[in-house]
Subunit: 799 residues, 2 copies
């Protein structure tokens, strides 16, 4: 584990007490600001030094050809890459002609604080220029939740130890030079200078640049306006050229005399709207921001976040680091989604270019669960984005010879961008993940308009897909062959358990939705024969199980594969995919990430308690967690099967993925799904929250089975359910259910039905966990919180 | 079926009676000349018009990066492409300043004849220039079997209807402009101008060019010398520049007065030798050719071919087209292999750039069987080439985490060039195919030096591979998981039957070879424990079988997959891989090419007669023959199971693959393995020849089970076996075994042991075939010879 040396542990903020250039790119990710529409990496105001400069607009991407040395039918021809748009963050500083670049001169003090309650990134620095003049620099920055198109910066500089002539250059910069991060010349070509200038403007304190992308033909506008406060010597001029629009402010400052610049930036983009329209749009947004003013933006930011925290906060006592981490996680998940408005939630949010800015199944399976229970207003737009890609998904299904819709494994705007089909096209479970997210959202929100609209469309087309993808055998059992489940160390398998369970739910949910909305279903051409076929396939779905071992098989025959030789795998060979070929990983029992374990999380009633315990132990011994999506699921099942210390260790791994840069790639952006996993580990793990399946096979109520690990004295969280706000407050021996608002709510407490009414909290004891032997992880893969030094160091020969 | 309109059916040659520019590229392939070292496509002497100009040297290639949109561990980084080397064929003609280009003027007559007995390609043309002068052009061309580095052309022109001033330009041309045939810019870059000039020379009648390749760093030299015969007006000059060296001969000719040019061309290449060395090498070779003279080269060519035909000819009575086709096939297979001398035999020979000039498993599995029984002197060098790539194969095994050697799926010089691992790396059977070829060669040739040398090395390293690739299950059964068999419409399967049978033989053969050569085995570090482990794995090898259906499974669980919907597959959607995704092909029962059927061909004793019949019928109904490697194997098993009409139809398909351009890609080069399949269909099909496995599990003698289809009245062939030459002469009711030379030979006739002695032919009756119901092919995939018009046209609704 690499603990960042200069982060302090505080409950409501992330504070970096000194600047460490070696982890600059990582810090740019953790300090990134976003509202789901605009993303600004936490780059230093001056632009340099930087790890990776980044300003992103959700959906703005460039296309490039996907190369194949050996092409095949149905391979996507075109890739999509999120591009760095016009950078509005940059405010350069010159002190007596010395550019303020923290690599030169002497940095006496540097602190950055991301406040989860105010949503403002603050920075304080004291720097002595190579010329010997010391200045104090402060900046505050926000990307507005309230005004979606707006970001703003307050930048202030004052000399400390003598007079200084300063120049502050506030810029809009397009086509920033980026570090080379791809070996593919075609991707490099698409991202090197992705923006073609259409308009550049600078006048008085106002700046504007409008560009468009070449292949994807998107128009991107950025505008800025400024308030300047300084002494009488203060002057400014504005200049522009195609890729730079700049306000230069100069002043002669005495010690203690500040120059202050407030910069309001607005962004807009469109694939449809004309240059004048985009031009007016960003000018209008920036004018509105100026009118609101910095203090107004700050106040609105705080109000937005107060509302969020009231319904989303998780309190953790006994581990201050986890307390901080879960709020860091909630804050960043909110940032990734809040104002996306019918755009995707990328795997890295808008914090970096990792995975090319693509969205995957983890949006629906990890991020949306958190948002559904805490910020449901962000869920419907995310699902509407998926719904908006239905035409592309139907076309993809047609191309693949299937019915219904096939959603892309990875995409920005809806077309499949995965160039490796065994882990892309074959991972059909994403279709059920989307359907499941819709079912979850409707259950929790009660959004009937969505249910009969986008929800029904999504369910019907995915159900049609499953029916066409699977087939009955001679005995009438329904099989789904040749698919890849969540575990990416297996592929192209028969009857992946997770996929089959998800498909079963998808088919039943679609049939139910059709029954609820017969008029709309008729429009879609669904009749009773079709729903009967869906229900039949669901009822006869194969569920691979090894009777001898008494465990479910990840896929048919999986338990008969050779076990991976973990003893012969040295620690430096993880992640395995960088050191072993897929062919070898695929044919052996080794699990990259929760698969059967995820199935047990999603379908608590499909397994007996003993099956869960045996399955968990069996797959625990095979799971290497080479994916950031794994630890949180393992935490949940570890908690359920009574392994609370282990669950706590996995919680730590999920929670610290980015703060401790556990996978050494936080520089490329945050692991938004793993961050959401922190919440999952706490709420579904120690809170034991599940959607329980009723007699009729449908999820109908929330169950809780709270139980804390020794290290935690209290976990309290709030979930939203059909307009109610339920607070679950878990102590070591008792748990209290309190309805903060809304109609009485029925829940389960360790299986016992309870009705919670506003003003009448219900308290219940926590039953003891069943004692079971501690599951074993593959050699060297125990989670950090558990491994003893002795275990870590024991020589191979002793084993 | 597209029958080339202008090929005549003749027993010993291929004659084209008119020039058809639309199938020019196809004719260039079928008229290609090669000796396994040099390959000249059948381009017109004048260079243009052309389909694809081509001069190749076996092994001369360029490297290029292999692109991956999503890279993975162990993916080959570098591809190899056979390049067009210096073209020595070109002899341009000007008639009264009109360039002789057959697209202009009027072509009165054009005939090309490839004579299988002389090995000379002859051409006769009468052409009227746009200026109105008619000339007669004749050329003869050979690539010498006797003088490996040498090719030669005799070119003659004479005016017919009046005097003409002619100029003949005989050239060496490097970096010829080629039609664009690749979409990959990096491959295009590597092949566009692959040769970097090092030396150019022209003096008197002598020409020379030396070049090298950029990335692969190979030096290529070509030299030419000429004899000129013409009237007194004849003059010549030689000129050169970096990519062209040219002799220009001019003469004023009266009608009937010929100008005759004999051009001797020599090639040499090396990755090691210096410029002066290569320079001297080609000059020396051309001088030797001049010394031999054209007539000498022709005589030696004839002598070489006489020897070949004496041991290789197959006589077919009753079908003149098949008679021609099998000789065409034998001739081209010989051309591909004769003088390769420790170089690969590419899938297209040296007839075109199809498959990038790579060699695959079909060299060992289709081409070497023919050569082993007819031209064994070409087999050892081909296997020595494989042996020479052992270091690369061992390195590949190490990279993949396996023991022994992993030979490349496709390569020119030994490194894996397959960029799609499910059909490349995973197709491990190639390793057993190589071992099997070595076992076959040793059995038939009795080459003990090879057996204890290269043969042992190949067997040991492949046996080690199999042991490390497979594993035992709890019941002690040995499984090989995650591999791809011959059928490329399945991949990454468990216990591919063909692979397991081949691996079993490989393991046993290696153990036997170690027993024969304990001293050498000790050098390789093999001890009795290791061979015991091999024998155990072989003895416990899994053989997937479906008890209910009574058929072997292509791989474990294969018969439980969904059947491909052949009824819904329109004829234009074949080959399926161009119209359906791999994911769908892989997970359904649809067979591209013989797999279980190939296993039954290779291991006749591993199946009962009834199993063979049931297996054949079962897989026949699934096999679409989207590979040229399939029909010949189906012919063999169809014959064995008594379906002689069907076998005959498949023979036709194999035999006419290139002559009728059945797969529409003969332009890229000939299907050498399918050509060899013509021989296999006749010899192993209607001759029923198999290597039979003795009591001890080893192949120890040849069995025959001759039986002719109604259409054929006689098939007679010769096979070489340990210095003997056995002639098998099959009639409708009787078969005669005659030992042409050598010690008495024991063979089987329909299971009955016979000893054949020189001078005492043995005649036996042909027993009647067991009557069985006619197997059914997938809809629309009956071989052409069988389908009735009614069947072809019947509407879908009737089925």
């Amino acid at each position: 584990m690499i603990t960042h040396p200069s982060f302090t542990v505080e409950p409501w903020c992330l504070r970096e007490t000194e600047l460490n250039l070696e982890v600059l790119a990582q810090s740019e990710s953790v300090f990134a600001l976003s509202n789901g529409h605009i993303g600004w990496r936490g780059n230093l105001d001056e632009g340099e030094p930087h790890g990776l400069p980044g300003a992103y607009l959700n959906g703005v991407h460039e296309r490039h050809p996907l190369p194949y040395a050996e092409a095949g039918y149905g391979y996507p021809e075109s890739g999509q890459t999120m591009i760095n748009v016009t950078d509005g963050k940059i405010i350069r500083l010159l002190v007596d002609d010395h550019p303020c670049d923290l690599r030169y001169g002497q940095l006496l003090e540097h602190e950055r604080v991301l406040d989860f309650r105010t949503g403002v990134l603050s920075r304080t620095a004291r720097w002595t220029s190579p010329g010997g003049r010391t200045v104090r620099i402060t900046s505050r920055r926000l990307v507005s939740f309230a005004q979606r198109a707006v970001a703003a910066v307050v930048y202030e500089v004052e000399p400390v130890d003598g007079p200084a002539s300063v120049a502050v250059q506030s810029e809009l910069v397009a086509n920033e030079q980026l570090p080379t991060i791809t070996g593919d010349p075609r991707v490099a070509a698409a991202t090197r200078s992705p923006l073609v200038g259409e308009e550049y403007f600078a006048q008085d304190t106002r700046l504007r640049l409008v560009h468009r992308t070449e292949a994807s033909a998107l128009r991107v506008g950025a505008a800025a306006d400024h308030l300047v406060e300084g002494p009488g010597s203060t002057r400014w001029t504005a200049q522009c050229e195609p890729d730079v629009s700049r306000l230069t402010v100069t002043a002669d400052l005495e010690p203690g005399q500040p120059l202050r610049l407030v910069k309001f930036v607005a962004y807009g983009w469109s694939g449809e709207r004309s240059l004048p329209a985009v031009h007016d749009q960003v000018d209008g947004a920036v004018a509105a921001a100026v009118s609101t003013g910095w203090d107004g933006l700050v106040a609105a930011q705080r109000a937005y976040l107060d509302r969020f925290w009231a319904g989303a906060d998780v309190e953790v006592e006994g581990d201050a680091q986890i307390q901080q981490a879960v709020r860091f996680a909630l804050f960043h998940v909110l940032q990734a989604a809040a104002r996306g408005e019918n755009r995707a939630i990328p795997a890295k949010g808008l914090t970096g270019t990792g995975y090319d800015g693509h969205s995957f199944w983890d949006t629906e399976s990890y991020v949306l669960p958190l948002l559904t229970f805490t910020a449901p207003e962000a869920v419907a737009p995310a699902l509407r984005w998926r719904h908006g890609t239905l035409p592309a998904a139907r076309e993809r299904a047609r191309q693949l010879g299937l019915a219904g819709a096939v959603f892309p494994w990875r995409t920005i705007e809806g077309a499949e961008c995965s160039a490796y089909w065994p882990a892309g096209t074959a991972a059909f479970h994403i279709n059920a993940d989307i359907a499941n997210a819709a079912v979850r959202y409707v259950m929790v929100s009660g959004d009937e308009e969505f249910d009969r609209g986008e929800g029904l469309d999504l369910l019907v087309d995915t159900a049609r897909l499953w029916r066409s993808l699977g087939h009955h055998d001679a005995a009438g059992v329904f099989h789904i062959d040749g698919v890849t489940g969540p575990d990416e160390y297996s592929a192209i398998a028969r009857d992946n358990l997770y996929t089959n369970l998800m498909a079963r739910q998808n088919l039943v949910a679609a049939a139910d939705a059709v029954t609820r909305h017969p008029d709309r279903a008729a429009e879609l051409g669904v009749d009773d024969e079709e729903t009967a076929v869906w229900r039949d396939a669901a009822a006869r779905m194969a569920m691979p199980y090894n009777d001898t071992l008494g465990v479910h098989e990840q896929s048919a025959g999986y338990t008969h594969f050779q076990r991976w030789d973990f003893e012969a795998t040295p620690p430096e060979n993880y992640p395995l995919l960088l050191h072993y070929p897929y062919f070898d990983l695929y044919r052996k029992q080794v699990v990259k990430q929760a698969d059967v374990v995820l199935a047990m999380l999603e379908f608590p009633n499909a397994f007996t308690e003993e099956q869960k315990a045996r399955n968990f132990a069996y797959y625990e011994a095979l799971t290497v967690r080479d994916s950031s999506l794994s630890a949180c699921c393992q935490a949940v099942l570890a908690a359920e099967t009574g392994h609370l210390r282990l669950a706590y260790a996995y919680l730590g791994e999920a929670a610290l993925m980015d703060l401790d840069d556990l996978e050494h790639n936080t520089r490329d952006g945050l692991h938004i799904a793993s961050l959401a996993g922190t919440w999952i580990a706490l709420v579904s793990g120690f809170g034991g929250m599940r959607r329980h399946i009723g007699e009729d096979g449908r999820p109908d109520l929330l169950g809780f089975a709270p139980r804390l690990p020794e290290a935690l004295s209290r976990v309290a969280f709030t979930v939203l359910m059909r307009g109610r706000r339920l607070k679950v407050d878990i102590g070591p021996t008792h748990v209290r259910y309190r309805l903060v608002k809304g109609e009485p709510l029925e829940v389960l407490h360790h299986g016992e039905p309870l009705t919670v009414t506003a003003g009448a909290p219900v308290e219940r004891p926590v039953p003891p966990a069943t004692a079971r032997p501690e599951p074993q992880q593959p050699r060297g893969r125990r989670p950090a919180g558990l491994a003893t030094e002795e275990e870590q160091l024991r020589p191979e020969t002793q084993e």
